[in-house]
Every structure is written in structure tokens, then in C-alpha cells.
């Protein structure tokens, strides 16, 4: 059974390209275009992994991650994509199942490699 990844980004072109890359590697992909939608779909679909944008209207990637961690035991391992020019401060990430923070522009090739690595590890 293919592993399931939730891709959340309010930028549709980014969400689509990530979905395309992951699907090409044989993963099952669920796409959400804002935080609220991502939260609802994650609860419904129970993905093995999440790739999410940080800045999204309504609910940020961090909030999504935190709310899922509160809802599902251990939360869902996550890669955070961000176009912010600086590193996220550690306290904001503490206690959350965030495996890596990747800054935009990013390489879909590297993103896929990271997702696969963590899926195997987890």
C-alpha cells in the first residue's frame, strides 16, 4: 500500500508541483490549499507525512502541525516550506514533529529525497 502524503500550500502552483513530484515517485498525495482544509483532510485521510507551507491564511503550517499533534498521538511528521528569509526560532518548533525546514525556492528533487528518507526512518 503506497504511503500517503498531505501537501498544503496556498500557492496552488507550488502545491501542484510538489504533488506531481511525489506522485511520480509512487506516493499517494492529498492536496490542500489552506491551513483549515489541510487540518480537516489530515484528520480524514490520516496521512503518513505532511509537506506544508508556513504562511497560509487562516491557519499557519506551524499551527496545523501543533493542532494535529494535539489531535493525533505523536502528530504527523512534517516538512515545513517557508519563503521567510530567516531561520525559524527554535522555541516555535520545540515539541512539534517537524523533521526539516526547507526554504523557498526549493528543489523538488531534494524535497522528495527528504520525504522518502523520513518515511523509511519513521
Amino acid at each position: 500500500m503506497p504511503r500517503k502524503v498531505l501537501v498544503a500550500d496556498d500557492e496552488a502552483p507550488i502545491a501542484n508541483v510538489v504533488a506531481m513530484k511525489l506522485r511520480g515517485a509512487g506516493l499517494e498525495v492529498v492536496v490542500a490549499l489552506d491551513g483549515q482544509e489541510a487540518y480537516e483532510r489530515a484528520l480524514a485521510e490520516r496521512p503518513d507525512f505532511i509537506v506544508t507551507d508556513l504562511q497560509m491564511p487562516g491557519m499557519s503550517g506551524l499551527e496545523l502541525c501543533a493542532r494535529l499533534a494535539a489531535e493525533l498521538p505523536g502528530g504527523v511528521p512534517t516538512i515545513l516550506l517557508t519563503a521567510k528569509g530567516f531561520e525559524l526560532d527554535a522555541p516555535a518548533l520545540a515539541g512539534l514533529p517537524i523533521r526539516r525546514v526547507m526554504t523557498k525556492p526549493f528543489s523538488p528533487r531534494e524535497l522528495l529525497a527528504a520525504v522518502q528518507e523520513f518515511l523509511i526512518a519513521d
Binding site: 496556498d10 500557492e11 496552488a12 502552483p13 507550488i14 501542484n16 508541483v17 510538489v18 506531481m20 513530484k21 511520480g24 490549499l33 489552506d34 491551513g35 483549515q36 482544509e37 504562511q55 497560509m56 491564511p57 487562516g58 491557519m59 499557519s60 516550506l81 519563503a83 521567510k84 528569509g85 530567516f86 526554504t103 523557498k104 525556492p105 526549493f106 528543489s107 523538488p108 528533487r109
Partner: protein, 481 residues
């Protein structure tokens, strides 16, 4: 002179008495003289003796009337409170001399008094000048828009200007000389003054920031503290001067600017991320289907346009504000602009499953304006509406005539803007606190809309909004008849 008078008096006395007695003696010795001659000689002798005594006395005596005259004259002057000279007859006797001496002395005293009066007048003028200068300095201190507070050696309030009264809410008249702790309630500020009193000898000048209050009403002040010292080696602190300058706005602008740089880079990186990702997909051969390939190239193209639009926005706003942009105003149809905006925005709205309705008027309302700028202004408003409307929402663009103006109305079913932010959304770099943290943007779009509509075209921008229900932006432009 007096000696001569005495000699004359003595001579007259002796002469009168001597001759008189001698004449008196003649009848007594010559008894044979007729009786009437005897009597006549006797009378002449007596008269001469009396004359000699009287003459001598008259010449030598100090006349009582002159002394009394002088005394009365002096008493009169005392009574009338005037100053003058006594009646000095030119006589050479002691009284005459005394009178002249008194007059000389009086002249001296009068000069002295006049001199003293003059000096006192000068002093009074000096005091008035100093008083005026003091009041001037006080009003200068009061006129300073920065708060000024001066405390004494024991932490008592010596001086505070009106700005300081307003900052801390006290009345100077009723607070002066009172301990500063009773005048100012803010513990943080009192601690600054206290520290200054304790360590002022080592660090007599200090500039620091003090935040007054908290939450949304917090005000930031730059406080310059100076210690006033006294003593030969300036070893004693006799007080402290605090000058408070508000930097709330500057801090806010500085933060907005730093946010702006971070936001602009975010805004540029987002389309760049798409471009980079799609290019990599294409070069890696991940996309083989020709239709999908075409879609990728289209995305790359539209994301490139988006980056360009952002850069145009930044450049245009800066050019418009510096007045460097050449305007190209013509009579143009607003409907055409709306149609072009609709064409550009429909695919973006479709990505979020937002229905973009363009309700174009059947008649072509015309305005006199710069087509490119109006296009960009309308595009910014519509693009904002799409950005701030969640998936499945609706954005409606319409145009109508009202009060001689062509109104372009953009209504959305988006997140809405809280009332306290409504007037601020047009400020340069301002980002909504409501959604600003999560929705990307530069804070330039609406600033450009306002500038283009109001400054360049003499129109007006309005906004009304309800949180959770959506917003309506209206651009009113003077219609061409």
C-alpha cells in the same frame, strides 16, 4: 573774620564805656559849670556808655532770630518731605559759616541720595530684565514638545513642562516641590530616575528607551537622562534632568520598513519557488505528457509576470511619490480596464475555486486618466480580494455612475478587515494584524491604489468591511461628460 568782629565789639565797648564815664566825670569834677551843661554832659556820657555797651553787644552777639529762621526752614522741609538749602545769609559769623556748611552737606547728601536712587532704578530694571528672561526660558521649556522633568537632590520635582504634564497626567503648580514618587505613578520610569540618582556620578549622561503602558496603546519614549552635580569636584548629585521624546511612530515605521524588506523578499521568493520547481521538473524529465508540459510553461510564465507586477508596484509607488513618472492621461473607458483585469485574475481566482464576477456596465463610462496606472490600481484591489478570500468564495467587480463619478466596486466574501484597521490599510507598508501574519504581501498594493486614485486622478478610495463577511472597496473617479 569772627575774631575781627570780636575785636571791634570789644573796642566799641571800651570806647563807649570809657568816653561815657569820662564825660560823666567832667560835671562832678567841675562843680562850677552851669547846671544845664552839667546835665547835658552827664546825659551824653550816659548815652555814650550805653551806646558802647549796646554796640559792642550787637556786633558780637549771635542773633537768635537767624537761628530760629534756620530751624523753622529745616522743620518745614521735614514737614513737606522736601530737600533744599537753608537760608544762608552771606554773614561771616559762625552762624553764616554753619549755614553754608549745612548747605554743602545737604548738597552732598542730595547727590548721594540721587546716586542711590539711580542705582536702585538700574537694579529694578535689571531685576525686570532677569524676570522677563526667566519667564522667557520657562515658556521656552514649556513650548518644547518633548517632556522635560527636573528633580532636586532629594528626588523632589523642581520643574516640569506641559509636555511632561501630559505624559504623566499631573499638574505642575500642585506638584512642584513634592516627592517625584507622589507625582509620577509609573514604576518603570521612577526606577530610571532612582537609578540615575544612585549611579549618576559614574554615568552622568544616559539615553534609553522607556515603554509606557502596554498592549495596543503602548508608547515608546527615548529618555535622555542627565545628572546635575555640584561641589568643587562635582562630587554631589543635586538633581536630575529627564527629557522624553516620543519615538512610537518612528519605531513603528522602522518595524514596518524591516517587515517590508522581509515581506518583499517573501513575495519575490514565492513565484521564484514555483519557477525553480517547474524548471527542475522539466529538466529532470519528470513531466512527459505534452499537455502537462504546456501547463508547466504557462505556470512559469504567469509566475514570472507576478514577480514583475510586484517589482512594478514597488517601482511605481516610489516613482509616483518622487513625481518622476510621466503621466499619459487620455479619455478612456473604465469598462475596458475591468475587462483586462478580469482576464488576468480569472485563472488565479479559479486556482482557489473563487468565483470572479465582472458585472460590466453596458455603457462605457469614461474617465480622464492614465490607463496603465488605473489598470494597476484596479488589478491590485481585485488581486487583494482574491488573496483575502478563502477557497470557494466570491469576488464581484462592478461599475456604476454616482454623483458625477465613475465608481469601480470590488466586493468579496473574504476574511474582512477589523474596524480599527480600516483607515490604516492604505498606509504604506501597513499589513493587517488580522491576517498579515499568515497572508503574504508587501503592504504596498493599497498604498499605490490610494495614490493613483486620489493624488493622480483626483478621485477617492473608500472601504467598508465586516470581519468574517467580506470587504467592499470603491474607487471613485471623476467622470468625463
Amino acid at each position: 573774620m569772627i575774631e575781627l568782629r570780636r575785636i571791634i565789639a570789644v573796642v566799641l565797648l571800651f570806647l563807649g564805656v570809657g568816653v561815657g564815664l569820662h564825660l560823666l566825670m567832667i560835671p562832678l569834677r567841675n562843680m562850677d559849670q552851669p547846671a544845664d551843661i552839667k546835665a547835658m554832659t552827664l546825659a551824653c556820657g550816659l548815652a555814650l556808655a550805653v551806646l558802647g555797651i549796646t554796640g559792642g553787644y550787637l556786633v558780637a552777639r549771635v542773633p537768635k532770630e537767624r537761628i530760629q529762621g534756620m530751624a523753622e526752614h529745616l522743620e518745614n522741609m521735614v514737614r513737606r518731605e522736601t530737600m533744599g538749602l537753608v537760608l544762608a545769609d552771606g554773614q561771616a559769623d559762625a552762624l553764616g559759616r554753619l549755614g553754608r556748611a549745612v548747605n554743602r552737606y545737604m548738597t552732598f547728601v542730595k547727590d548721594e541720595i540721587e546716586q542711590t536712587l539711580l542705582t536702585s532704578k538700574e537694579r529694578q530694571i535689571q531685576i525686570k530684565v532677569l524676570e522677563a528672561e526667566r519667564r522667557h526660558i520657562e515658556s521656552v521649556i514649556h513650548a518644547i514638545s518633548d517632556g522635560v522633568i527636573v528633580t532636586g537632590a532629594f528626588g523632589d520635582l523642581l520643574l516640569a513642562n506641559e509636555a511632561a504634564e501630559r505624559i504623566f497626567g499631573f499638574r505642575h503648580e500642585t506638584s512642584v516641590r513634592r516627592p517625584i514618587e507622589e507625582v509620577i505613578a509609573d514604576k518603570g520610569f521612577l526606577a530610571l530616575l532612582q537609578e540615575m540618582r544612585e549611579t549618576g556620578l559614574f554615568t552622568p549622561h544616559r539615553t534609553l528607551e522607556w515603554v509606557q503602558g502596554g498592549g495596543g496603546g503602548a508608547r515608546t519614549w527615548r529618555v535622555v537622562l542627565n545628572t546635575v552635580t555640584e561641589g568643587k569636584k562635582r562630587e554631589r548629585i543635586s538633581g536630575a534632568v529627564a527629557v522624553l521624546h516620543e519615538v512610537t511612530k518612528e519605531k513603528e515605521i522602522a518595524k514596518m520598513k524591516s517587515d517590508f524588506v522581509s515581506n518583499v523578499s517573501h513575495e519575490l521568493k514565492t513565484p521564484l519557488a514555483s519557477i525553480k520547481a517547474y524548471v527542475e521538473m522539466l529538466t529532470d524529465g519528470d513531466i512527459k505528457d505534452p499537455a502537462q508540459c504546456r501547463e508547466c510553461f504557462q505556470t512559469i510564465a504567469s509566475e514570472t509576470d507576478r514577480m514583475n507586477r510586484l517589482i512594478e508596484n514597488i517601482l511605481n509607488l516610489s516613482r509616483l511619490e518622487s513625481g518622476l513618472v510621466p503621466l499619459n492621461k487620455t479619455d478612456l473607458a473604465v469598462t475596458e480596464i475591468l475587462r483586462d483585469v478580469g482576464e488576468v485574475m480569472t485563472p488565479q481566482a479559479a486556482q482557489k475555486n473563487i468565483l470572479l464576477e465582472t458585472d460590466l456596465a453596458p455603457v462605457f463610462f469614461r474617465v480622464h486618466g492614465d490607463r496603465d496606472m488605473l489598470y494597476q490600481a484596479v488589478l491590485n484591489v481585485v488581486s487583494n480580494a482574491v488573496k483575502y478570500t478563502p477557497q470557494g468564495g466570491k469576488v464581484r467587480v462592478s461599475t456604476y455612475l454616482s454623483d458625477g463619478s465613475v465608481v469601480v466596486e470590488v466586493a468579496d466574501s473574504g476574511y474582512g478587515i477589523p474596524e480599527e484597521e480600516l483607515q490604516r490599510v492604505f498606509e504604506k507598508f501597513y499589513r493587517s494584524r488580522h491576517t498579515g501574519e499568515t497572508v503574504p504581501g508587501t503592504g504596498l498594493g493599497l498604498a499605490l491604489v490610494k495614490h493613483v486614485t486620489e493624488v493622480v486622478h483626483g478621485g477617492r478610495v473608500d472601504v467598508e468591511s465586516q470581519v468574517g463577511r467580506g470587504s467592499i472597496f470603491r474607487l471613485s473617479l471623476p467622470a468625463v461628460r
